[in-house]
Structures are given as C-alpha cells and as structure tokens.
C-alpha cells in the first residue's frame, strides 16, 4: 500500500493539491481515483504546491495533463507553485515546462487567477470606526457615547449634522470617504471639553477641530483595518460646514450611517462609498 503523498483541499473557487513527499506510481493511481470520484474537481482552478517534489513520474504527468484537459474547457487553469530548480530542470527535460502555468507561490497563483477576495463593507469594516469614535471621545473629551442601530440613507440627503470632518480613503477594493458629522451645539460642547474654555459659536478656527477628531478616529480605525488586510490609505482631513455633501462624486450607493448618542448630544459616523472602485 503506497503512502499518501498529497492532500487535496477544496477552497473557494479552487482546489489546492499539496504534495507532501516524493511521488511514486501507486500514489498516482490513488490520486486518479480521487479525481475520478469527485466531479467538483472538474470545475475549479487547481493550484499544485510542489515544494517537496523533484520530479513527476510518468504516470503523474499523464494524470496532471488529463486534469488540465478536463478543467480547461471550463475556463479553469492548473498552476504549479513553489517549483524547485531541480523540478524545473526535470520539467524542461521532459518538454513540459510550457505545459503548465507556474507561479512563485500559492499567493501569487491566487492573485493571478483572480481569486484574491475583495474586502467588503460589512461590520468587520465598520466596527473599528465605531470603536475608535468611542475611544477618541472618551480619552480626549471624557465623553461617554454609545452607538445605535446602523442604517443607510441616500447620498442626496447630505450630511446628518451641520459640521462634518471628512477623510477620503482608498483601498484595494473600494474608495470613498469617512465622515464624522455633528450638530453645531454638540460639536461646540465636544470642543470645549477637548481644549478647555467654553465655545459658543462656530468660527473658521474652531471648526477645524472636526477635522482633527475625524483624523484621530480614522487613524485608529485604519491601523486595525490594515492589520486585517484592507490596505487603506487615508488623505488629510477637511471640514465641511452645512449639510450639502459633495464628498464622493459619482456616488450612487447608499451611505452607511452609525448614529451615536452622548451626554453632549447626538452625532454620526457616515461611510460614503464611491460606486467606482
């Protein structure tokens, strides 16, 4: 009985064939039975991890070419990864180096096959902003806020509050703006707590504070999100006064709104995404 020298793992849109040791004739037979017994394998890309392999026995070559022939009409590819120089020499010697796609590693294969998952806008994306807003206001202004139920609105409705800090963000899979929007009275109370004194009226110098609050919230959230692979880049914050919002030209997608309540009044975090990613 031959020792099994491969593992087959079904992933989203592809199969990983992971070789775990040198290949022999009998293991090829077992492998062929595995393939023939599962029609799913005919409809997925195949990524073959070849690091422990220094040569393909003749029977394995036949089976791999057969598999490639089965998936090709379905628009799928077989990609060899982690190919050692020794294996490459052997493939060339057999005239097979052009018969398979070759990638440096599994990640490169996933990217080349267009299988890298695009990060979506969901609670995993929104929660870091929510938590950062609570943290920033608690630490910098000693304000205890709480988040309400998330909802969406049309972009034509404009900002929720009169003073808004806006930061444009781009990532691998989306671009848009993060907005922290306050009623004037709430904003002035937050500012008074942050820098001392009592602010009773909005003016050009004090409304800049909305940008700084936004900067802190986005900065904190960005670190968390980038650790999760969002690859976000943020621009310098700007401040908008009034509810007319022109943050993401061409935006047709709903705006995601997180409402907050606090002892100094309500405020909102809004995620404005562009429809063009």
């Amino acid at each position: 009985m031959a020792q099994k020298c491969y593992e087959l793992e079904k992933k989203d849109g592809h199969v990983v064939l992971r070789f775990t040791g040198p290949l022999d004739y009998y293991s090829g037979k077992n492998f062929e039975e595995d393939l023939d017994g599962n029609s799913d394998y005919a409809h997925a890309h195949v990524i073959a991890y070849c690091e422990p392999v220094i040569s393909f026995p003749q029977d394995w070559v036949r089976i791999l070419l057969k598999w490639k022939g089965v998936i090709r009409p379905n628009g799928k590819h077989l990609v060899l990864t982690n190919v050692s120089s020794k294996l490459m020499e052997n493939l060339k010697r057999l005239g097979l180096d052009k018969s398979f796609k070759i990638a440096k590693d599994v990640k490169e294969a996933v990217d080349e096959l267009g299988l890298a998952s695009k990060k979506s806008i969901d609670t995993e994306f929104i929660n870091p902003f929510l938590e950062a807003a609570l943290h920033v206001l608690q630490v910098q202004a000693k304000i205890e806020a709480s988040a309400g139920q998330i909802y969406t609105k049309k972009s034509s409705e404009g900002f929720s509050g009169e003073i808004s800090g806006v930061i444009d963000i781009v990532s691998d899979s989306f671009r848009g703006s993060v907005v922290i929007s306050f009623p004037a009275e709430t904003f002035l109370k937050i500012l008074s707590r942050m820098i001392g004194g009592e602010f009773t009226q909005l003016d050009d110098s004090n409304i800049a504070g909305a940008g700084e609050v936004t900067n802190m919230i986005v900065g904190n959230a960005k670190v968390v999100l980038n650790q999760k692979g969002y690859n976000i880049k943020a621009a310098i914050p700007r401040v908008k006064r009034g509810r007319g919002a022109e943050v993401t030209p061409g935006s047709r997608v709903p705006v995601i709104v997180v409402p907050f309540t606090s002892q100094v009044g309500d405020f909102w975090i809004e995620i404005w995404l562009s429809s063009e990613t």
């Binding site: 630490v139 910098q140 500012l191 820098i195 110098s205 504070g209 700084e212 802190m216 900065g219």
Partner: protein
C-alpha cells in the same frame, strides 16, 4: 521628570491639537510653551536652541514631523534635544522608521494627561541616560 520651567515647543498643523497638547502640558505644570504650525516653522524656532523638549505631530504638510526630527538630530548643537512624536496611526513600519531616526518616544492620539505624562517621564529617563553616557 522634566523641570516645569523647561521650554517646550508644540508642533502641529491642527490648531485644535496644539491647544489639546498645550492644555495638558499646563495641567502638568509647564508654563513656557511655544507653538509651530509645521516642520519648517518648527525648524526656524528650534534653531535658537532655547527648547528643552519638542512635542511634534507626525503628519503635517510642507515638512513632516519625521523630517523635522531628522533635521534636529543632524544638527550637532540640537541633536540631543528630547523629542516626542505624536501620531494618529502607529503602524509598525512607521514606528521602526521613527526609532531609526532617533525619536525618544512616540504617543498615539488620542491620549490622556496620564498617558502623556508617562511618555514624558520615559523621554526624560532616556535622555538622562543618554546625557550621563
């Protein structure tokens, strides 16, 4: 801890943040506090050699806090000035670059009076060790 008579330069392009830092410094007993709006303004003010502590934002237009830090460290007369960087986003690669450039400590926004005090104590300790070496 720093002598409260130490002259402090607070550098930030955002007025609000300068006011926040100044407010906390006053609560910690500092009274001689000057402000600069970016790295270029800060460099002009620093050249006098009067400041015993610099607290600078990282992300600023014209000249960033990191560029300003490098200028300070490259100047023989100013190179030992205690320097604290303030940032809204401390990613590991950034922190590594700041340490390599000679920053004494960094603090992530937002920060409380207690956390700024702890950072200043750490800066003071590091600079004291450096001075006695």
């Amino acid at each position: 801890m720093f002598d409260p008579k130490t002259k402090v330069l607070v550098v930030d392009d955002m007025l609000t943040m300068r006011k926040i830092v100044t407010k906390i410094l006053r609560e910690l007993g500092f009274s001689e506090i000057s402000e600069a709006v970016d790295g270029i303004d800060a460099w002009e003010k620093t050249k006098s050699g009067e400041f015993g502590l610099i607290i600078s934002d990282w992300n600023m237009p014209n000249c960033t806090g990191l560029e300003f830090l490098k200028r300070v460290r490259a100047d023989q007369r100013l190179s030992k000035t205690p320097f604290l960087l303030v940032t809204a986003e401390a990613e590991q690669s950034q922190v590594a670059e700041a340490i390599k450039s000679g920053v004494d400590q960094y603090v992530v926004k937002p920060f409380s009076k207690e956390s700024l005090k702890a950072k200043l104590e750490a800066v003071y300790k590091k600079c004291s060790v450096r001075a006695s070496a």
